[in-house]
């Protein structure tokens, strides 16, 4: 670390790192300087002039904006002088000239920096008697974001965020001077996966979300810190509720993980908690219909099965459980049978990954300190959105980026080297000899690199990724971040052994080895590429118990459906992210009806069946989850609740994954998932339910030509199944490739190992006429 500089602020001696901004140095020393436009995670602009302070210069004391002034040694600063106060009053009087007095109906009121700082630093009265400027009250700049231009004070936080951080600058200042407004281009809405962040950082009520607008007042909100379990990034979040209803999620600035940002799915996919369609009572299949049943009856009927030592039990677990839930299932499984057992995760992309004693696993922060980042995985913007932001940030700081695969085109525009269709075949094999590729060798050889590796699609062979891994491992000083993309997968790694994915489930499970199947928080029929196979397996098995928040295609075929509480906001527990950072999941709202946590259900069931139960409480399970770790390093509740560990605790771990390689034949179709889909929770979250409902495919140019696709839509057909979809031509695809997003119902029902027909809609229409 370079030497510190010493400053005198308001007569106090403070110390700071050189090259720091004055406003930040003061903040670190506990001296608050008011501001609107400056944000720790954005480049400074000096737009609002609220942070003016007096600095001694050779020409006497001068007012300078502290957000654009770097500290220097022996700087003398006054942040509270009369001149500064007068400047602050002046700035606020100007800012308030055009700001409407609609605080009584404004969502921001009560947590509004403009309101607060006017109280603290404002002139107290206005001399402005003219007419304020007027704009149409909120306009929809996207399906989920509203903009009230009258309230905007032109700090440029939102426009800078969309330009610098998320890289989709679809909002900008239009006009100038008194007419300046933030707006989008006509018919080009602010369609961004990260748009919710602009609402959070807006220092006034100009940007609001359809989700939270007019729902509550900040002083009525109850809040608690938790962790988002949407994807393995594990963003730190704050949950807000009022009157026992979850109303809002905010990003928390966890320096090592999300730095305050979130994706919109994480931010708004909570509304399902308040849905009327939530399962509230246990159901039992009686005469082909699910009818309500007492939970005691569920326990006693299932207990009969379990008491019988001959009963063969298996588990298909979703990725949204807490680590404690996973432990509960493990304990249950160990108690009923001592023989080794596999757990199946609801993940059609689970594979062995890169773990082992000789492999150094990376942390998210390593992205910033490496010389280069190499990515070959699913599209990170779709699957691990905030990790995508961290890559963007690293690249902005000068880290080189090498991207493989046509499925990663969202990173291609910031990549130094993009190996698209020329390098990666339609079978997801690397086409050329890497050691002869000049560009990658220049960037990688002998350097510190972070490799983000995963499989782009279920059809990709393990071997192809391994080839890249081995090249990197032998040529560079590499660390690996395994990019699994589902919820708490890493928590399952940490707590369960012999993990297998959905392809193994399809191969292994049959009525011969399973009498009782638990499907927990998963809808593999509604959302996986093995939909049909799993459907017939489930139909054949004697007793199937589904635990979930909603009824869905899988639960409708189950014998028992048990309503469970959501991991988001209704449960306590722990979550482990992509870098094996374990952090707290906390409970804010009560869960509806007779819902239970998964672990409560399993523990009660064990008690009913008269099994020995060692883990009767959440604390027991929590301790059990980490019993093999040194107690001071173990992420048990006691440790996680210490203020120093709020951001989570890292325990790097080598999981035992028993998943076998996927042997699906790939046809011209390959599958993946987009950020938004139409899973049960998404369907019941009003704000985002429309975002994943559109059925579409992406085709390469040659496919569009071959099938004469001109009308914007086409029909996918196989056997009896016909689905009308719109299509988009994707120029980065190799010839003859079609992508199908399978997190949309119906689209996952095809048998992807066989041909699927593409019929242009004009042909279909002609057929219908005849």
């Amino acid at each position: 670390m370079s030497e510190k500089v010493n400053l005198n602020v308001n007569g106090l001696e403070i110390e700071s790192d050189p090259n720091k901004l004055l406003i930040e140095a003061c903040e670190d020393s506990g001296i608050h300087i008011p501001r609107f436009c400056w944000h720790k995670r954005l480049d400074p602009v000096g737009m609002c002039r609220m942070c003016l302070v007096e600095v001694e210069t050779p020409r006497g004391k001068m007012l300078v904006p502290s957000c654009t002034t770097e500290v220097s040694d022996e700087m003398v600063v006054d942040t509270e002088s009369d001149v500064v106060k007068k400047a602050q009053e002046g700035v606020l009087e100007f800012l308030l000239i055009n700001h409407p007095l609609d605080c009584p109906i404004c969502d921001k009121a009560g947590e509004c920096p403009l309101q607060d700082q006017t109280m603290a630093y404002g002139p107290g009265e206005s001399r402005f008697v003219e007419e304020k400027r007027h704009f149409e009250k909120p306009i929809n700049i996207s399906e989920i974001i509203l903009l009230d231009r009258e309230r905007c004070i032109l700090c440029a936080r939102c426009t800078r965020f969309s330009d610098e951080i998320s890289g989709d600058p679809l909002i900008e200042f239009i006009q100038r001077g008194n007419k300046t407004e933030v707006n989008t281009f006509p018919n080009e809405p602010f369609k961004s996966y990260f748009s919710g962040n602009t609402v959070q950082i807006c220092p006034v009520g100009a940007l609001t979300s359809t989700s939270y607008r007019f729902k509550a007042r900040p002083w009525d909100l109850k809040s608690i810190r938790s962790t988002c379990n949407g994807c393995p990034t594990g963003c730190s979040i704050e949950l807000n509720s009022s009157q026992n209803k979850m109303l809002r999620i905010l990003g928390v600035d966890n320096d090592a993980v999300n730095q305050g940002w979130m994706c919109d799915k994480g931010r708004y996919n909570f509304e399902y908690l308040n849905s009327d369609s939530r399962l509230k009572t246990p159901l039992k299949m009686t005469d082909n219909e699910l009818v309500e049943i007492e939970i005691q009856d569920v326990y006693s009927e299932l207990a009969e099965f379990i008491k019988d030592r001959q009963t063969k039990v298996n588990f298909l677990l979703g990725s949204n459980l807490t680590n404690e839930d996973y432990v509960a299932f493990r304990e249950f499984s160990n108690t009923i049978s001592k023989s080794e057992r596999s757990f199946y995760l609801n993940d059609d992309l689970l594979y062995k990954g890169f773990f082992g004693e000789n492999i150094e696993l990376a942390k998210i922060d390593d992205l910033n300190s490496s010389d280069a980042i190499v990515v070959w995985a699913e599209d990170l913007k779709e699957k691990l959105p905030v990790l995508y932001l961290r890559i963007r940030q690293a690249v902005k700081n000068g880290v080189k980026l090498v991207v493989f695969g046509h499925t990663n085109e969202t990173l291609s525009d910031i990549a130094d080297v993009f190996y698209g269709k020329d390098m990666v075949s339609e079978n997801f094999e690397i086409l050329k000899d890497l050691s002869k590729m000049k560009e990658i060798n220049n960037l990688v050889a002998g350097k510190n690199i972070t490799a983000i590796l995963g499989k782009s699609t279920p059809y990709q062979s393990d071997e192809s990724v391994t080839k890249l891994f081995e090249f990197l491992n032998s040529n560079a000083n590499s660390k690996v971040l395994n990019a699994y993309s589902k919820g708490n997968t890493y928590g399952a790694f940490q707590t369960l052994e012999n993990l297998k994915g959905l392809n193994d489930f399809v191969n292994d499970i049959s009525k011969d080895n399973t009498d009782l199947l638990f499907i927990v928080g998963a809808d593999p029929i509604g959302r996986s590429v093995y939909s049909n196979q799993i459907k017939s397996i489930i139909k054949s098995i004697d007793t199937v118990v589904t635990l979930d928040n909603f009824n869905h295609e899988t639960s409708e075929l189950s014998d028992y459906v048990v309503p469970i509480s959501s991991t988001l906001g209704e449960k306590e527990g722990t979550f482990t992210n992509i870098e094996f950072r374990t952090s707290r999941i906390d409970k804010l709202v009560p869960s509806p009806g007779q819902t239970l946590s998964d672990w409560e259900f399993i523990t009660s069931l064990m008690n009913f069946a008269g099994l020995t139960v060692e883990t009767n409480s959440l604390e027991d399970l929590n301790r059990k989850a980490y019993e093999n770790l040194d107690s001071s390093l173990s992420p048990v509740f006691d440790n996680l609740d210490k203020p120093s560990n709020l951001d989570g605790m890292i325990n790097i771990f080598n999981p035992k994954i028993a998943a076998s390689e996927n042997k699906l034949n790939k046809t011209m179709f390959f599958t993946g998932e987009k950020l938004y889909g139409d899973s049960a929770t998404e369907r019941h979250s009003d704000s985002i339910s429309m975002l994943g409902s559109k059925k579409f495919i992406e085709v390469s140019e040659s496919v569009a030509e071959k099938y004469n696709l001109t009308s914007g839509s086409c029909i996918l057909a196989q056997d009896e199944l016909e689905v009308t979809v719109s299509y988009e031509v994707n120029n980065s695809f190799p010839n003859d490739l079609v992508y199908i997003p399978t997190n949309r119902r119906e689209l996952n029902k095809f048998d992807f190992s066989r041909e699927i027909m593409i019929i242009p809609s004009q042909v279909k229409e002609a057929l219908n006429v005849n």
């Binding site: 679809l170 900008e172 239009i174 281009f185 006509p186 080009e188």
Partner: protein, 204 residues
């Protein structure tokens, strides 16, 4: 794409002059203006594709500068200076006369789409105040009478090229100083006359 091949070729030529594509944004907007007389949303989409920034970013720049018109202009854009030097030298009377003749308020275009009138801030010709621009070709020392004469001349002859020196000779008065090299090219549209934009013709 609403730009024809000729214009696109021109645009690509301009982009090549800059180390980064987006630096060509200013001239490309002038080019768009020379095509339509204003910056249309269609042109913005074309430019956004050409330089690789989003449409709203182009829109942001085009609406910031007042020389990029957001509404269609007439064949001749009359800009009369209203800043201090010109005001002292009776530009308000010039403004009145021009408005009277054209029947236009500030920033209006007549029905024939012949004239657009605007009263503008300093155009850098204080030495020869009051100054007027026709399609950004500057004429200095314009008396109210000469302003009318100039408008009449424009209306009657409808020249395709307006040339500063020519108008200065016929309708101008005191000139501040000779602008750099002698320039007998002119402007062919409501964008400034630049060789690179093809908005000028060298007169023989």
């Amino acid at each position: 794409m609403s730009w024809d091949d000729k214009l696109l070729k021109q645009a690509k030529k301009i982009i090549k002059l800059y180390p980064q594509k987006r630096s060509a944004l200013g001239p490309l907007l002038h080019l768009a203006q020379s095509k339509d007389g204003y910056i249309s949303d269609d042109s913005i989409s074309v430019i956004s594709d050409l330089v690789g920034i989003t449409e709203v970013q182009v829109k942001s720049v085009s609406t910031f500068y007042s020389m990029y018109k957001q509404e269609p202009t007439g064949k001749y854009l009359l800009s009369v200076c209203k800043s201090i030097s010109c005001e002292i030298n009776n530009s308000s009377e010039v403004i009145n006369k021009v408005q009277e003749f054209t029947g236009l308020n500030n920033n209006e275009t007549d029905e024939d789409e012949l004239f657009t009138f605007e009263a503008v801030e300093c155009i850098g010709a204080c030495g020869g105040a009051p100054a007027v621009q026709v399609n950004y070709e500057t004429v200095e020392g314009v008396t109210p009478e000469n302003a009318i004469n100039m408008c009449k001349w424009l209306k009657e002859t409808k020249p395709d090229v307006v040339v500063a020196d020519e108008m200065q000779e016929n309708f101008g008065g005191v000139k501040s100083f000779d602008w750099a090299i002698q320039d007998n090219s002119g402007s062919t549209s409501t964008a400034p006359g630049f060789q690179t934009l093809n908005t000028t013709k060298v007169k023989k």
